[in-house]
Symmetry: C2
Subunit: 355 residues, 2 copies
């Protein structure tokens, strides 16, 4: 599958590239950006012509609604380079659809498919040198939209800016990941915006996560806010739990993000003949399974972290260790997935899109 | 009470004032700003020297965390001019405390009291011509803080910008306000950020509010997200309900903003010998009271809207009208409050602060 251009994009190239100054072996996630970015403004009820410019700060009014009312959404995707120097996206249609689902929930205008897709393709193509070969090397792609309209009345903006910025990345978490099961704080309300990739969902988690960090835990597994009895997801990952030989993951809902990695892993597990059940696991079940030894694995799944095995969880002050196991589902599924992403295995699903 | 300066603020004055171009009789809320604004940056773990500059757009990086993770909080306050041309703030200490409570919940640094208070005083003083005399005329003050640190990793920023912008305002809502009682959507989770004035709380309400607007309702009264049985608050107002001669308002909680207007009205009602009870009113109670005629008034209370009487509410597809009454508590309390704010009645509470 390749993308054909249906729109015009004005391109102003950077006068020189920053790439030589980047140490690609020692990247920390998300703090270095490529030479270019895409900008497309929405005003007078219509999307304007997209432009690609050098990556640089831009001017914005202090009363822009993004600052006051948080109308801001984003996506997180990656580009991968194969052995032939071809650059690939993974299921970009899923990110595009989710972006517009988020836009709708946040009362923002939907971005037309050609602006999203061709914009993405064009800017990644321009900075394709930044996508490095080799498993684990990726270019992280961050499409986002912010409300740029002026005024401090609490109402949707009438002006928006859609942008795409690109950041070379290795994997997200390093080291062993231990989590706390949420007992008090929550990330999403029933009837809230948890299923949208809305900026406000993330800062809401920073303080509880800081408290967890202080106790030696990197992440929180959120539970339903009403009863704190059902396991939901982590900060930027959906969560899989393996009890005996069955893999469980919570159903997506208004509170849980419909992760692309999650849905891909479910399909891969099914293809591999693993037993997968999409249902909520109760905290109580998790604790009991940890106690009786039937709990085999917990892992997070998300674009940034890919598959992130969890080595221990804490609940009500007690820490439960996960066993070290052979034939880990996490490793198997991670390998399945990354082989497709890097074109090392046949993509029978049609998930990869060449740039 | 007056404020004494303990900090230095660099001031760059606007070369000319925009004030002559403003039609103060026909202001719409929050879209005109005065000549100056205050900026104070947090970096390297410390607040820098505040500056006041002409109101103008500023440069920000596309990867600033406010755009991606929504670390953004604000306050809403007003300045009032009395008959002697003195300018007054109303309980600014409450806004200052709430600002830092919001900062803490959003994992942002607290703003020192002298930067907040003296910054506010200095910038309002500089633009005091913009505060017009006469009941209903105010200068709306918007202190806010955004995460300016770079990088798309979902972690708290290490750099922030605190700003104060000022907008001349009449009252917020015009016309009759009808509300819908929330049955599905919610504004806040248990253990969430509802009690913080965090930007993300507001955009979360835009889509449900748009749906309400389409049905002819201006606002939503939110209910608890778990059961939708308890009345909580409106978009930017706390809610009071009068059944017979008792006035009810929900207790503040993790889900409900601790409004300055709300707490002032409670004190005024008590002073006036009215019966006030701080407890949750059930939706069922409200509907029953509407049916049996004991429901006398519903009104919103907040800085922008002051006191906003509600003429009807809808629940499960049925619209219930509020009766037209004499001796309305809403009118009485609004008069009590605004008289103090405009120095037309003695401020026995010590709420007003002269600039
Ligand atoms: C809250 C949340 N859950 C889950 C995920 C995983 O989604 P995906 O696999 O599409 O990256 C993400 C983001 O990336 C997220 O932000
Ligand atoms: C959610 C919410 N509730 C209530 C209020 C009322 O608070 P205050 O009276 O302090 O303005 C506000 C804001 O102004 C608000 O944003």
């Amino acid at each position: 599958m390749t993308l054909n251009n249906t729109i015009e994009i004005d391109i102003v190239k950077a006068s020189s590239s920053k790439i030589a100054s980047v140490d690609f072996e020692n990247l920390t996630f998300g703090n270095i950006f490529t030479d270019h970015m895409l900008i497309c403004d929405f005003k007078d009820g219509a999307w304007q012509k997209p432009i690609i410019t050098p990556y640089e700060p831009f001017l914005i009014d202090p009363s822009a609604k993004v600052f006051h009312y948080g109308q801001a959404i984003f996506e997180g995707m990656k580009a991968y380079k194969d052995e032939n120097d071809d650059v690939w996206l993974f299921r970009p249609d899923e990110n595009f659809k989710r972006f517009n689902k988020s836009a709708k929930r946040m009362a923002m205008p939907e971005v037309p498919e050609n602006i999203f897709m061709e914009g993405l393709k064009t800017v990644v193509d321009l900075d394709r040198e930044w996508v490095k070969k080799g498993l684990g090397n990726t270019l992280y792609l961050r499409p986002f939209m912010i409300a740029t309209g002026h005024g401090v009345i609490a109402q949707p903006s009438s002006e928006y800016r859609f942008m795409i910025i690109l950041s070379p990345a290795k994997s997200y978490y390093s080291g062993e990941v231990k989590v706390i099961i949420a007992e008090h704080y929550s990330r999403a309300a029933n009837g809230g915006i948890g299923a949208a990739k809305a900026a406000g969902n993330y800062s809401a988690q920073f303080y509880p996560t800081k408290l967890a960090n202080e106790k030696g835990y990197q992440q929180i597994i959120w539970t339903d806010d009403a009863t704190h009895t059902k396991l939901e997801e982590a900060g930027t990952m959906n969560v899989f739990i393996r009890i005996n030989d069955t893999l469980y993951t919570a159903p997506t809902s208004e509170r849980i993000l419909d992760g692309v990695t999650r849905k891909s892993l479910i399909e891969l597990a099914q293809r591999d003949g693993l037993n997968v059940e999409v249902r909520s696991v109760l905290v109580e079940e998790l604790v009991n399974a940890a106690k009786d030894g039937s709990l085999k694995e917990i892992f997070g799944a998300g674009t940034a972290a890919v598959v992130s095995p969890i080595v221990a969880f804490a609940y009500q002050g007690t820490e439960y260790q996960l066993p070290k196991i052979e034939n880990s589902f996490a490793s198997q599924l991670k390998e399945d997935l990354t082989k497709i992403q890097y074109k090392l295995a046949e993509d029978t699903f049609g998930w990869t899109v060449k740039i």
